[in-house]
Amino acid sequence: MAGGLAAGYGTLGVMAIRFLHASDGDAMGWQFLCRTEELTIGESLPYTTPSGAKVVIARQSDGDTASDFIALSSVCPHLGCAVHWESQNDRFFCPCHNGAFDPQGNATEGPPAAAKQQLTRFPLQVEDGLLFILVPLQAVLGEGMQVAAVTKPLHHDRSEEMEA
């Protein structure tokens, strides 16, 4: 009887934990950013991912390949606060625990520097002169935080963006 009770309530316990455990999954997708010629050296393009994270895209060198651009997340790798650009100090600064990052996203001060962290770089891709970024697609964190549920296949996503 004890075995039956343990098995019954144990199963229910496991089901309850599985029920409560929610993961966003790892749905990623390519999103259109801009035409490559629209971004010149010294300029930056602010972009908000479908999951609500801010990304800064900048051109690093002349050319028309993905390595000529950089896309840096504004989420501090230390504890997830949002960094902001301090033009007077030529750095990104995180107000939560005083982390600082250079324009390439490498940590220069605070706990992120001690842990040798850097701002997350998003993969970029250039196709036919169009710049794309690979980003997470779920859970919009903007107004009201409604779920965007943007989970479309890669080719569909791109064609839709290009049509737009």
């Binding site: 409560l20 455990h21 929610a22 993961s23 966003d24 908000t48 999951s51 609500g52 801010k54 230390h78 504890l79 997830g80 606060c81 949002a82 960094v83 902001h84 995180c94 107000p95 939560c96 625990h97 005083n98 605070g110 706990p111 001690a114 842990a115 859970a139 964190l141 903007g142 009201g144 935080m145 409604q146 779920v147």
Partner: protein, 349 residues
């Protein structure tokens, strides 16, 4: 009247003498001093929290789209809403302070020692629950500071080895703060944690009754001073007096310093100056001083040592041969606690 008495005693067959025996536990004389009543203080404040919390729950709506506006309604439009919300907030602050002071009193008087080790463990669980209930309640406001505080806390748990990612996903209902998060905080704050605390308090008090309260004699007491006094009515009157003083203090402070509305949460912009509630200043400063891994692991080590302190203390006393070794460690820990809290309080970053 006698008919009612007969009707009642037939259905509740407990005599007055039995009730007196049940409640009139002899109380050690040192409990005449108010600082030894710090265990009753958080219990009283917990009752205030339950009552004001139930009242607030009539209006609060736990979703990202509605939480802030519902609190604004409570604060600015509902009759006496500002007062009830302020009472809830200030009683939470007082409760956390009282729990910490109670724990310190138990520590410095060695009241956790054999045979009361299990009650120390229960007290530690109650301390953790109190901090958690404070954190989840603070997060429900969906203001800038509470939103980013919750984000930071979730990411701290992410850094815990092995189970950290799972704990973060369970807490947030996903990999990051999302539309499911606030309802989780609400269920934890208003149902899971209070129920757990009520059960723990019941066991805590049961153990106190089983072991009796630790007895002390202070140097200024004469040898012929009474060793005990009755719970009813003397000690009950002491507790009621403390309850009255607390109610006056809470009412006054809620009126003089009512809780205001902060800026609404903006998930895209972290405020330039960000601070948690005062009881997390220590860990916030600790996180600034050390790398995330070290800060998380050292905090886990310290909390683990606090849980196991009755046994660690026993081992230390055996090794050093000094009874008061825990007092010296406690003084250093308290200075560190106060120092880091004040440091975080006085600086902007």
């Amino acid at each position: 009247m006698s008919h009612i008495g007969e009707w009642l005693s037939e259905r509740v067959p407990v005599s007055g003498a039995q009730l007196e025996e049940l409640t009139n536990e002899p109380v050690p004389y040192h409990l005449k001093r108010w600082w030894f009543c710090l265990g009753g203080t958080p219990a009283y404040l917990f009752v205030v929290q339950i009552i004001t919390g139930i009242l607030l729950a009539f209006y609060y709506q736990p979703s990202a789209a509605t939480a802030y506006d519902s609190i604004a309604y409570i604060t600015e439009q509902a009759n006496y809403g500002w007062f009830i919300r302020s009472m809830h907030k200030w009683a939470a602050t007082f409760m956390i302070a009282a729990v910490i002071l109670h724990q310190m009193r138990v520590y410095f008087t060695g009241a956790y020692r054999r045979p009361r080790e299990i009650n120390w463990l229960i007290g530690m669980c109650l301390l953790m629950c109190t901090l958690l209930v404070g954190f989840t309640g603070y997060s429900l406001a969906f203001e800038q500071l509470s939103y980013w505080g919750a984000t930071v806390a979730a990411n701290i748990s992410d850094a815990v080895p092995v189970a950290g990612r799972f704990a973060k996903q369970m807490l947030l209902g996903g990999d990051s703060y999302n539309e499911r998060t606030l309802s989780r905080f609400y269920i934890l704050h208003a149902a899971v944690l209070p129920t757990t605390m009520i059960l723990l308090i019941a066991v805590h008090i049961t153990f106190i009754r089983l072991h009796g309260v630790t007895e002390f004699r202070t140097e200024d007491e004469s040898d012929d001073a009474p060793r005990h006094f009755n719970f009813f009515p003397e000690h009950l009157l002491t507790e009621l007096t403390i309850g009255l003083v607390l109610m006056i203090m809470l009412s006054a402070i809620s009126t003089i310093f009512p809780v205001m509305m902060g800026p609404k949460a903006d998930p895209l912009t972290t405020p330039e100056v960000i601070k948690p509630e005062w009881w997390f200043y220590v860990s916030f400063r600790w996180l600034k001083l050390f790398s995330l891994s070290f800060a998380v692991l050292s905090t886990g080590f310290i909390v683990g040592a606090m849980f196991l302190w009755p046994w660690i203390d026993g081992a230390l006393r055996k090794i050093t041969g000094k009874e008061e070794v825990s007092v010296y460690i406690g003084i250093v820990a308290t200075l560190l606690l106060v120092g880091l809290t004040v440091w975080e309080a006085v600086v902007t970053h």
